[in-house]
Symmetry: C2
Subunit: 134 residues, 2 copies
Amino acid sequence: MKQGLLTDRQKEVLRYRKKGLTQQQIAEIIHTSKANVCTIEKAALENISRARETLEFLYTLDAAHLCTLQSGLDLLKAPDIIYAEAEKMGVKVKYDTISLINRLRDANPDRFRSRQVREDVEIYINNDGDLYFG
Amino acid sequence: MKQGLLTDRQKEVLRYRKKGLTQQQIAEIIHTSKANVCTIEKAALENISRARETLEFLYTLDAAHLCTLQSGLDLLKAPDIIYAEAEKMGVKVKYDTISLINRLRDANPDRFRSRQVREDVEIYINNDGDLYFG
DNA sequence: GGTGAGTTAAGGAAAAGTGTTTAAATTTAA
DNA sequence: TTAAATTTAAACACTTTTCCTTAACTCACC
């Protein structure tokens, strides 16, 4: 009923790929053509993208754009910016300074290496003071 | 191409619902029956569940089972257990003690109320030292 | 040039998903 | 207990997805 997007065939191919097998090798194992393995793998990755995008929609559903953290910003200055913007909107941020920094860093490690923001990050907030990023 | 799972109709209904409208009210706005609004909304929620489950599969794909945190365990004792098991597997956990506890608590608030583990939690780890729960 | 790995295109058949209606059943709230 | 709100079931047309084949194609490498 509440089954995932990936078909058994797609999961099968992804598992073998994770093990490092080539499409040709997988084709022999599951008795089909390598072209078909390629198609199935591609469909699987497509489905994963769709799953991601689906959940992202949820955030925009109940969250409003709060501010943008500019590339180059010191991560430790982010909380004050966020608090100020949230106050303008009359919303109380759910996180204290420490956990806010943790939240930022954990949510997207690639964009918060060390103490610097490496690329622009959009901040969204909902009525509960929860933060989301895009 | 890489569109999300939710159809325009489904997003429409979810937005109106978020605003607090009843199915009857929405039915009038989008010119259909209230039963249909119900079906569409249900399909939307179903799709969201499927998106979640799809992404969960990814975690189990490249993560190996590390250990089980038994119900009743003191949350503060979890890090040592996890570090020990990871060392056995030759993997370095990505989190220090504090952030590991934060990660545990944040990932599943229902199962980590106060300082106690309320039900068994399976811990998975991948080669990067990332942790996942199931 | 030849080889191995991967991708793309065209086409087809079976399966699954979507929006819809109608009608009945159930839950929730005044 | 009524009334409103929500859910469920069955059925239908329609579209999309999936898996499959065959054949041609790119790309990197020796």
